[in-house]
Symmetry: C2
Subunit: 477 residues, 2 copies
């Protein structure tokens, strides 16, 4: 039986202006985690959130994470954990969000003050953090408040985990989640994260997969110090020549990875999976618009989405130690370090990817016949994540989307990684759902970040509706 949601929805509409006011207050706190001098603002934002949650009757704890490693003069902002309800007959859902934001300065080209929420006549609410991730975080608080004011029973026990360092590496969070998995988080039956975006602007989506990332450095060195190309050019084997020749053999113009063994690790495409792509609301024009060019590799949407979501890719990011400024300098750099990364997908094992990369890079270098030295290492790797979109957590969310938006959601994956997703899955061994609120045009990490009023208000309805459906969804597949 479909949940009774009309009273809740009506209440959300009634409270819409006060919800926007809540977002305005949050955006006004410049909680930029990357800037030393604004770290106190991050902490102030945590306190704001704590006070709001307490006012709603949640039990809240600000869990300190200590000093920032390597930068001991800075306090890490606390993780704000909260619980609303503890009825053992109800399911318990753990939600995650972050209350810190990306840096923003008017001079970067913002059309409005980045830390003043500015709503235009199209209902676009501009402000740093509006969509990433203050809007979605406050969505959960709004949902609680609307239930209370509508007199509708809250359908689940809600556990909340809001961190303040997401935009700066989530320092300390993995350990915290692992430590609390069978303590604060032990009742959680499923996890929901609202910190990503629709694929376009019109159709909501549920996200069930993320690519991982193995990041590499390859260093070639020879001379004891940088040399002048006039004096030494033609007499010495140049590290930059060797490095460029190695990097040129990693990937081709059409993105084909040339490292043997990598493509063989990829899970084969099944007919079922293939069938998912046709209906996705995405066009090549969407791609071209976001690229700002027509330099895509594939001519059609299916291949493009598969390349983004379910196939690996290799990108060359740059070279450290070479001349990189404007103008001309006739240097022979003594030591240069190329940076590249491989986006990983099922069933690529990070360690096996490393092994294949190390072997290949060394082989290619050996064939150059150089007297220079080469070192290659992995800077970091983050595993890919894929959840089952047939799990009750997803099917419930799908029904909620259909109820609020009148359309079945796209089932999407993403090309990038959201490391906390995997951390929750691995620590809690529960299904994790990514349920985005904002749309593809929100410009999360850019100037003029915004959240549409419609996405915020309907999104608040969606978060509440999701909790109702997930409370009732049978434990199926």
């Amino acid at each position: 039986m479909a949940p009774q949601l009309d009273a809740y929805f009506k209440q959300v509409d009634t409270l819409a202006e006060s919800f926007i006011e809540r977002l305005r207050k949050a955006v006004a706190i410049p909680s930029v985690s990357a800037e030393d001098e604004r770290r106190p603002e991050v902490i102030r934002m945590g306190k704001f959130l704590q006070a709001e949650l307490e006012a709603l009757g949640c039990s809240v704890e600000a869990r300190e994470l200590g000093k920032e490693p390597q930068r001991e003069h800075l306090d890490l902002p606390p993780v704000i954990v909260a619980r609303y309800g503890s009825d053992s007959k109800k399911r318990t859902i753990l939600v995650y969000g972050h209350y810190d934001v990306q840096p923003a300065n008017l001079e970067d080209g913002w059309a409005t003050q980045p830390f003043e929420l500015t709503v235009d006549d199209k209902g676009r609410m501009f402000g740093r953090g509006s969509t990433d991730d203050k809007g979605p975080v406050l969505g959960w608080l709004n949902a609680i408040e609307a239930h209370q004011k509508a007199g509708v029973d809250f359908p689940v026990n809600l556990l909340m985990c809001f961190e303040g360092m997401e935009e700066y590496g989530s320092e300390g969070l993995d350990d915290f989640i692992a430590a609390e998995a069978d303590k604060y988080f032990k009742d959680a039956d499923a996890v929901c994260i609202s910190d990503n975006y629709w694929l376009g602007t019109e159709k909501p989506c549920l996200t069930y997969g993320l690519r991982g990332c193995n990041y590499y450095s390859v260093e070639v060195s020879g001379p004891g110090q940088d040399l002048h190309s006039g004096v030494f050019g033609g007499t010495v084997q140049e590290p930059m020549t060797d490095l460029v020749r190695v990097m040129a053999q990693l990937v081709d113009t059409d993105g084909k990875i040339l490292v043997p063994g990598i493509n063989e690790m990829v899970a084969p495409l099944t007919d079922d999976e293939k069938a998912l792509y046709g209906d996705i609301a995405f066009t090549m024009d969407n791609l071209y618009e976001s690229l700002g060019s027509k330099t895509g590799i594939f001519p059609d949407k299916e291949k493009t989405l598969m390349a983004r979501w379910r196939y690996p890719s290799l990108s060359l990011h740059g070279i450290e130690g070479a001349f990189s400024a404007p103008g001309g300098k006739t240097v022979i750099p003594a030591k240069v370090t190329g940076k590249f990364s491989i986006r990983t997908v099922p069933n690529m094992e990070p360690a096996k990817v490393n092994e294949a990369v190390f072997k290949y890079v060394n082989d290619v270098f050996k064939k150059l016949g150089s007297k220079n030295s080469l070192k290659v290492w992995n800077n970091h790797d983050g595993r890919w994540w894929v959840a089952s979109p047939n799990h009750w957590n997803f099917t419930a969310a799908g029904k909620a989307v259909e109820r609020v938006w009148g359309v079945k959601p796209d089932l999407t994956r993403e090309g990038g990684s959201i490391p906390v997703t995997l951390t929750f899955e691995e620590s809690l061994k529960k299904n994790v759902l990514l349920l985005p609120m904002g749309s593809s045009t929100d410009a999360a990490h850019s100037i003029n970040e915004k959240l549409d009023r419609r996405n915020y208000i309907e999104g608040t309805k969606l978060l509440g509706a999701y909790l109702h459906y997930v409370a009732e969804e049978p434990t199926g597949a």
Copy 2:
């Protein structure tokens, strides 16, 4: 008949301490042309030189070059031109040097204060500008003074041209020389520049050739802005991939230039020329010491020196627009510009080199089948220079070296360029000789720059002796 030089030599020895004192005063003026705030010190150094020259009875002019282009708040230091003697029966020799110096800070690792001349117990005189180029410039003044005090007739009319912007691009000098070629410099019969170094530490040399340099940029662009490799990796043709693949096809590990047509432009090696290399005082250990490694291309001295002096080379300097900092960043750069240069030798025409490079780079890129755009252009080119070592200017200098140092000089070329050399040759149509004073260990542009007392004092003798021999040398070959 060999010139009578004993009285002059003796006087130089007598005045040695006062010559060192003159150098001490010059080094104490931090005439760093590259630093805005020290530009007045460069001008002060010009005035010091002017006063010293006037005290020796030279007629001196400080020729203003106006404001620095693009940086109109800065005055260019004047060119100090001077004449000593105007006897129409004597030859007139034009000498060039520069009175500005490279930057130097104690914190860079200097063992002594860089602007205090510090003489150690091995006679090494440490100080910025000691060898580059204040020592050689003052050598000419010392030679005049010693002739006066010894009562020896000065053998030539001496024209002097000392500039103050050499270490910062010789702004304005080319135009000045061209304009004065048939005015201030019109009597010059030959030119002598003392602003380079011996190949080693024991054997003097005369330098008769320099390589030129054609500098290139190759830009690949596609997307409208930098992209995130998570979101776009695998779906877009990446400019960095294309650029690296193009750069990898320019030169191989052993320095072989892969641009068709370039190697064919090189003047063939004659037996006469080949024979010059065997005797040159240079060893592979000299190379390894200056490299700080054993990563040379050739196993023997002859091939190494030929590669440095008389064959072209191609060096990859770096990439602008890619990620170049330490650490990891998962960017797909939207526009990247590779920098490389080709050192040129006879008979490579800069314009034909450009043509070959442009065609090849475009061809290689075309074969990649990329939708990105490529542009390649020449940033600047400086022609190679080779003089005849059989000219009387050189044969006279060779005799002077033998007289002072007791050994025939090596006839050397250099891999780098000294643009003013070509400017003098082309503007005055006279033979130009490079007659170095310092040795290979002087560390001209590095920390702990020095000039050996021996090279300064014997070098002063050499400059004077050269003027005697060049006054008498028959106009031969």
